[in-house]
């Protein structure tokens, strides 16, 4: 049980971090590029959503299997194929939850507008400095939303994880699958217990994040004049 909880939290945390790390430049590019094909990329990012998770997991399984190019690459790099490992789970979850992170961050970047970045440029801030000192802080609500949706979704994620993780205790078995197993095995009491625990825990985590963000924010929504 504790194993399972640990793996769940670890998966959600690692996935969320990777999603933020990958999603941020992607969102930035989507927000700022004027390439004509960027909306096609945006649509592509949203696409995995359309497939049922298990089916998506099935395709990921095929894509990552030892005989596929990706699988071969993984084997030559790490000596191991990806499915049925924690790393494989992370990849699958990242793939599946990407749009929930990219879209809110992209919107937040777009809402900043040109002006603050222009001002920073005239103050000799390099593109990197502008990004880190202006764009990132001003887009914080988008990051919060992306992180909450990404985290929660990874905790509850199940189809993809089941398919490419293989439900291996101590390695790829996460809480969502544990609940599912209990439900399948008609062990409702355990299912209720874990579900309730998860809900309470997730509620507290999400609430804490939101309250923290509000504290950090520049004052109340009302009464501002800028």
């Amino acid at each position: 049980m504790w194993e399972t909880i640990r793996i769940t939290l670890q998966l959600a945390a690692v996935t969320t971090i990777i999603l933020l790390v990958l999603g941020t430049p992607l969102a930035w590019w989507l927000a700022r590029s004027s390439a004509w094909w960027k909306e096609a990329v945006a649509a592509l990012v949203a696409l995995p959503l359309v497939l049922p998770p298990t089916v998506l997991g099935f395709y990921l399984l095929i894509a990552m299997s030892p005989s596929s190019p990706l699988g071969q690459l993984a084997i030559s790099l790490t000596g191991q194929s990806l499915p049925f490992t924690f790393a494989g789970l992370v990849i699958g979850s990242v793939f599946y939850s990407l749009p929930f992170v990219v879209q809110p961050i992209r919107n937040a970047f777009e809402a900043i507008g040109e002006r603050p970045l222009e001002v920073a440029a005239t103050l000799r801030a390099s593109p990197w400095k502008r990004f880190f000192t202006i764009a990132l802080p001003l887009a914080r609500p988008g990051f919060l939303t992306g992180a909450v949706l990404g985290f929660a979704h990874t905790v509850g994620e199940f189809g993809v994880v089941l398919m490419i993780g293989g439900n291996i205790p101590g390695e790829t078995k996460v809480l969502s699958i544990a609940i599912y197993d209990h439900v399948e095995a008609l062990e409702y009491d355990q299912a209720h217990l874990i579900s309730a625990g998860m809900l309470v825990f997730a509620f507290l985590v999400i609430l804490a994040m939101m309250v923290l963000e509000k504290k950090l924010r520049r004052g109340p929504a009302h009464g501002g004049r800028s």
């Binding site: 002006r115 603050p116 920073a120 440029a121 005239t122 103050l123 202006i134 802080p137 501002g224 004049r225």
Partner: protein, 353 residues
């Protein structure tokens, strides 16, 4: 010697900019022109925020040319935007120090004191008044130690007292560091006080460009015919009457008396004389409180078309300082002034700029 030279041409929707101009290496250049004539667009092009065709050169440095464009953050400019545009997520202090290469608390506090925002250092921009925001924006640009300052109506939201506090600071800045300033302003008196040069724009073109005193008295420009027409004279303080608190100022062709202790003897200063403060007399008048009644010669008579005339005079003889007088058709008719005539100018108001 020109510090910055630029030639810019391009379109923004219906608007066409086609401007070539130069800015001298030191001093404040006023950018003057009606709303929508392209002043902000010029500043944006110089800052690298907008890219039109043409070139921008700073001393021997090329910022923009055929196929080359230096990004804004590599141009050592300070830009005060037309709207304050503070970073909303930073305190006043963080805003001020954002562009400082090595944050120097003393310097920052000094600047904040000068701009009257010392008490506001920990506020967020949302909680400032309009003028406070503008002052912070000025401080932020100054603290980034630029090689050239671009200021888009930086004082428009400020009251006279605040202006009076900030203008000497800008003057000192340009005297001390001698960085050139391109200064957009609609305020005649601000321009007279601050500017050394002037760039007059209309409909996307630079229609005139030169030293301030020439531009002000050039009757072919709209400035000389405006209600605020003024002359500017460079003067030396040559004496001080302790008892009456009157300074003696020598300009080319005359010596003027101006109330107050204007500065140490032998120092130089700039005098501003409104055309409407100057009257003419054919003989020396007596029994008047007007301090300065000076012999002068008429250089030109210019009909403004509204029953008013501009008379351009030189103090003493032809080579003296130029002074513009605004008189009515009635006076002109009564006294019959004409070019070349020697007369007396009575100067009611002289102020140091």
């Amino acid at each position: 010697m020109n510090f910055l030279s630029a030639k810019l041409k391009g379109r923004l929707q219906d608007f066409t900019l086609d401007a070539a101009f130069e800015i001298p290496a030191s001093g404040i250049t006023a950018l003057f022109g009606p709303s929508g004539c392209g002043k902000t667009t010029i500043l944006r092009c110089l800052a690298g925020l907008e890219r039109l065709d043409g070139y921008v050169r700073l001393k021997d440095d090329v910022w923009q040319d055929q196929g080359y464009f230096r990004p804004p953050h590599k141009r050592a400019i300070g830009y005060v935007f037309q709207e304050a545009s503070l970073f909303p997520h930073m305190t006043v202090k963080q805003n001020l120090s954002y562009g400082m290469a090595n944050p120097d608390k003393v310097h920052l506090h000094e600047t904040a004191d000068l701009l009257g925002v010392r008490e506001l250092l920990d506020r967020i921009p949302d909680r400032l008044s309009g003028g406070e925001r503008q002052r912070v924006a000025i401080g932020r640009a100054l603290l980034s130690k630029p090689d050239i300052l671009l200021m888009d109506e930086p004082l428009s939201a400020l009251d006279r007292a605040a202006k009076t506090a900030i203008i000497p600071y800008l003057e000192r800045l340009h005297a001390g560091l001698s960085i050139p300033v391109l200064y957009v302003s609609h305020d005649h008196s601000e321009v007279e006080r601050l500017a050394d040069h002037m760039l007059v724009m209309d409909k996307g073109r630079v229609i005139s460009n030169g030293p301030l005193d020439e531009m002000l008295t050039d009757c072919s420009l709209p400035l000389a015919s405006s209600r605020e027409a003024t002359s500017i004279l460079e003067a030396e303080i040559t004496g001080f009457d302790d008892k009456n608190v009157i300074s003696l100022l020598t300009v080319k062709g005359a010596t003027l008396q101006v109330p107050g202790a204007l500065g140490p003897v032998n120092s130089r200063c700039r005098l501003r004389i409104a055309a409407s403060d100057v009257s003419l007399a054919s003989t020396h008048p007596s029994q008047t409180t007007i301090l300065n009644v000076l012999p002068a010669r008429i250089l030109a008579v210019h009909d403004l078309g509204n029953a008013q005339f501009n008379i351009l005079c030189a103090l003493g003889d032809e080579d003296g300082g130029r002074i513009l007088a605004r008189i009515s058709r009635l006076s002109l008719a009564r006294f019959g002034f004409e070019t070349g005539q020697d007369i007396f100018v009575q100067i009611k108001g002289v102020s140091m700029v």
